[in-house]
Point group: D2
Chain length 147, copies 4
């Protein structure tokens, strides 16, 4: 019985003038701002979780725990980046995302982002349980065998 | 004969209101902006290389090739971050920096940043030679044996 | 004969987590980043001018000459801002935009932005002529009488 | 009896690579980020008010009410901007600052910034009284006659 692959979330982001540096290419911290938008879009558009309510009403957030990122090729103003997100691992209170940015048939950036589910009042980790875990799990790359 | 340790470059950065997010802590892409300032300060203050001339006159830059970064503990507005930079490795045209941010006796962020010496007109890698290599090498963590 | 009103360009921008400050509201310089996106969108979507080509190939830009801006009411993460742009005046080489941001039936920000058409190589003003003037003029609030 | 001039607060800000756009000059919203730093520095260094405590402990802030700003001449990476701040007017709960940025003997930007003293929990204006009013008043350009 084949291992079932999880879903991939995709969205497109236009490279703006304000993302670029004097060399005319994306200033690399701006990729992390775009990854932040990607995660917001994933919550809002795919998971059915209002990201603003998640923060403001539930006081939850997904602050970054660690990042591994390769900047393979530069991106320029006016390019449309296709971003995609998959979940590699879901731990007790953390998740590892595999994120890729592509344009013009090339990988531009690839990253592993480990976020922590945290209470934004206490800045403490919170276990990922119930409905949240179910929603995140749909994007898990190789979910465990069901039998 | 003991291995000689290289120099460490240090500078302090105040955490500003504009670095912080609605959770009241540094928005993580801002750490990379601060690391960019750290490298600029290293050039200007320690290496004796005017970073602006390096870009504008020599058309050289040190774009990011890859990043490994752990966000150990959050930082808040008004804290003074002590940043430090050492060089772990100097390759043909790339360098790996070890960067750490500390405050209140705690490590807040630790990162390995691999930058590439590149021509900002062609976006191509350029060999690190001569005086540049000498200057960077003074900050190399464990320089090769001299005998 | 009634004065003909010009067109209004509108677009929607989601208030992102990264636009907001520790007070949980949009950090005001971010409104200017959004206005920059608005002008880019106007070029790309309404005027039929590729903003990236305009910069990269024609070396033209519309740097800001002056700003008058009122921040009427704060905006929060998750709100959808409706931005609109009209042209109040077209001079020899400058234009004055009237820009408004609204959400929840309230004006949040209103601004007059005077941009200059400039060569980005020389940073000198360039006259607005021909097809460019025609395109901009369609958004002029009260075009001069035609007879 | 001559009108006594108030104090001027000055500080220097290096134009960083990350302040600049693909045209190689400061992206104008970044001036407002620098003005924000200027106000923070004024609190911390001149007024003897810890800006972080002001926010975090007293829940006070000085959000922007309105801006009038002229971008007179562009600034480039590596330039040292001299910023200065004076207070033109102190109202019940608002203040108007006159801010100027200079480099190389030229005015680069001049602005009038009207900020509001506000409670950051309620986003409501708060009267400027007592010690705060005294501290701000020392920077008032033309204080009222004392007799």
């Amino acid at each position: 019985m084949p291992t079932q692959e999880g879903l991939t979330f995709e969205c497109d982001k236009l490279i703006r003038f304000h993302h670029c540096d004097p060399a005319g290419i994306v200033f690399y911290p701006q990729y992390f701002v775009l990854f932040n938008e990607l995660v917001e879009d994933w919550f809002n558009q795919a998971l059915g979780i209002d990201f603003a309510d998640f923060h403001v009403k539930q006081h939850l957030g997904v602050p970054m725990g660690s990042v591994e990122c390769r900047f393979v090729s530069p991106s320029k103003v006016g390019e449309m980046l296709r971003l995609n997100l998959r979940v590699e691992r879901i731990g007790t209170s953390s998740m590892k995302f595999i994120v890729q940015a592509q344009a013009g048939g090339q990988v531009r950036v690839e990253a592993k982002l480990t976020v922590v589910l945290a209470c934004m009042k206490t800045h403490r980790a919170v276990p990922i349980t119930g409905e949240l875990r179910d929603k995140f799990s749909a994007y898990l790359m190789s979910p465990p065998c069901q039998h």
